[in-house]
């Protein structure tokens, strides 16, 4: 039903109260009742005189549709054709992980005289990555002297995308299989670079500045210093969204919070170094693949895809597990290792001879069995199953590390680099 102007209870009180008292005063001839009624009578008369003639139109608009975690914007509620409005109030529907100012999400404003448009801005901060509807609620308006009220009318919501704020991450270890053209990782083949490879006899095409004079004088033949070429590498992030455990309002967040923020951090780090990064989300039907790419726009695309993740939205979609990996790709699996899907994917990749690293994202403070002994027992059993899965993965030669921010991947990347130069068995 379309909202219209209706008399307020205040106007009815002033009108009925004053008229009743005035009627009695006239009927019984008592002057004192006229004195009692006079202010209410004046109030009612002036309110009726300011009876609104036009119907306002209300709408809400989100000032920014995309933010990062912790950033703020505002919902602007606008009342048009509001010449008869003296005060407008907007109340937005509270949502989880959104902080309004004021915290109730209710704000009002008094309009200047005969303003055509009234705006009520409600600042808000988004506290967690993801996509959620914002801006729905109610708006109401009051005429001068509080005689008539319009609404409350409904407001439509808009979609707010909150990009994950990547955690802090840094690594000094090179990736084990750089296979690209230009980059910063020392490759296995020799070429232009800075990392020392060997001293070998001079060959046509070698540059003079590469001549190693001391060895050349000692051996009597020209020798040159060769270096490893520097190339970029492919990193595939696999984010497990099948299970999400933990308190989203806790200090570390849920396992999916850790996974998403870690994936953002790792992607940001490698993309800044010029490497190519891709993304695969396990357990999601839509927006679950970002192909390999480089550059800041690609980072934005990855963060957008991470913001789309909804935990446990689909457990069956990844049955075929086609990753489409190229040679030399390093796969970083970010998972709490509580689902068969993630362990199966990890073992399958390891079987194919791909360098896989599992980053365990289960927060330390997760405890689901505080109150109920049956829950406690179930959680213990779940953890035992998880330990078995982790052992199985480690037995297949996949290193498992806990996410701890900067330096998480240093040691395992160095080990993978050493292992890359050794002969190995892989299933084709």
């Amino acid at each position: 039903m379309r909202p219209t102007w209706r008399p307020t209870t205040g106007l009815l009180r002033a009108a009925l109260g004053s008229l009743s008292l005035t009627a009695v005063a006239v009927a019984v001839g008592r002057l004192d009742l006229l004195v009692l009624a006079s202010p209410l009578l004046v109030c009612a008369a002036v309110a009726v005189r300011h009876r609104p003639g036009t119907e306002p139109r209300g709408d809400s608009r989100l000032l920014h549709a995309s933010l990062r975690e912790g950033e703020g914007t505002a919902v602007r509620v606008t009342l048009r054709e509001a010449a008869d409005v003296e005060h407008a109030v907007a109340a937005l529907t509270p949502r989880r992980f959104l902080a309004f100012k004021p915290p109730t999400g209710v704000a009002g404003t008094t309009a200047p005289s005969a303003a055509g448009t009234i705006t009520v801005d409600l600042p808000l901060a988004t506290l967690r990555w993801g996509r959620r509807q914002v801006g729905d609620g109610l708006v109401a308006a009051t005429s001068p002297w509080a005689g008539f009220r319009w609404g409350p009318a409904g407001l439509y919501s808009e979609l707010l995308t909150t990009l994950p704020l990547p955690g802090r991450f840094d690594t000094r270890a090179p990736t084990p299989h750089p296979i690209g053209l230009v980059g910063t990782n020392p490759a296995r083949r020799t070429g232009d670079g800075t990392d020392f490879a060997s001293i070998r006899p001079f060959a046509p095409g070698d540059r003079l500045r590469r001549v190693h004079w001391r060895v050349s004088l000692r051996t009597g033949a020209l020798h040159v210093t060769s270096t490893h070429s520097e190339e970029d590498s492919n990193i595939l992030m696999v984010v497990d969204s099948v299970a999400d455990l933990g308190d989203p309002e806790g200090t570390t967040g849920t396992s999916l919070d850790v996974s998403v923020r870690a994936a953002g951090a790792v992607a940001e780090h490698y993309l800044a170094r010029g490497d190519r990064v891709g993304l695969r989300v396990l357990g999601a039907t839509r927006h679950n693949v970002v192909p390999m790419g480089a550059g800041t726009r690609h980072l934005r695309r990855m963060l957008d895809t991470l913001a789309f993740i909804s935990p446990g939205s689909n457990r069956q979609a990844d049955a075929r597990m086609q990753f489409g990996l190229t040679e030399g790709t390093v796969v970083v699996v970010l998972s709490p290792m509580l689902s068969e899907e993630s362990s199966t994917a990890t073992l399958m990749l390891a079987d194919r001879g791909v360098s896989v690293i599992v980053v365990d994202t289960l927060p330390d403070d997760v405890d689901l069995g505080d109150d109920d002994p049956r829950l406690r027992l179930a959680w213990r059993m779940r953890r035992l199953e998880r330990d078995a899965l982790l052992r199985k993965v480690q037995k297949a030669g996949v290193p498992v590390v806990s996410w701890r921010g900067p330096g998480t991947l240093d040691e395992v990347l160095r080990r993978l680099g050493r292992r890359a130069s050794m002969p190995r068995l892989a299933r084709r």
Binding site: G10, L12, V35, G108, A146
Partner: protein, 183 residues
């Protein structure tokens, strides 16, 4: 909306009261009691039924100011004045008028939005000026009534009703000009 969910949202509204709204509700609860005290001072007897009636209606008004509870409070207090106090243009009448006016304005302010709304200073200042204006009207009518009483004119309620209409018209014009000036 079911009764249960309505009751739940009502209680949620009460728990979400802002400091300003809580103060307004306290005033809504206190002013009828003061007005009743002024009536007693003017000679009205303290009887159980009117006291209980005012108490119940006051509680209803404080809990749900956007209802007809405050109207009932005004009618009960006005009616009790008519029944139990002889016609009097004493200072108690003026104080009672001021208290009823303040009660009306406080109820209006408490109804501007949900219980969690915080009214801005502009609106509160506007209503303070309006209350002063309405109070001035009451004082003028009171003075006019005392003057008429002093002149010992023959009783003619129509004459006073006409005079009241003149005051209403003058106040309306004045308030319009004040609003234009503020804009």
């Amino acid at each position: 909306m079911s009764r249960l969910s309505a009751a739940r949202s009502f209680l949620d509204g009460l728990t979400g009261l802002t400091g300003q709204q809580a103060l307004l509700r306290v005033l809504v609860a206190a002013l009828p009691g003061l007005a009743f005290g002024v009536e007693v001072q003017a000679g009205a007897p303290v009887q159980t039924v009117p006291v209980a009636l005012v108490l119940v209606l006051t509680v209803i008004s404080a809990l749900v100011p956007d209802s007809h509870g405050p109207l009932a409070v005004v009618l009960v207090l006005g009616g009790y004045w008519v029944i139990s106090v002889e016609e009097s243009l004493s200072w108690q009448l003026l104080v009672l008028t001021g208290l009823l006016l303040a009660f009306h304005v406080v109820c209006l302010l408490a109804c501007y939005g949900p219980a969690s709304v915080v009214l801005d200073r502009v609106l509160i200042g506007l209503w303070l000026r309006r209350t002063a204006l309405l109070g001035a009207v009451a004082v003028l009518v009171w003075l006019a009534a005392r003057l008429a009483g002093g002149l010992d004119l023959p009783a003619s309620p129509w004459l006073f009703a006409a005079g009241l209409l003149v005051v209403v018209g003058a106040t309306g014009t004045l308030s319009r000009r004040l609003a234009v000036g503020a804009g």
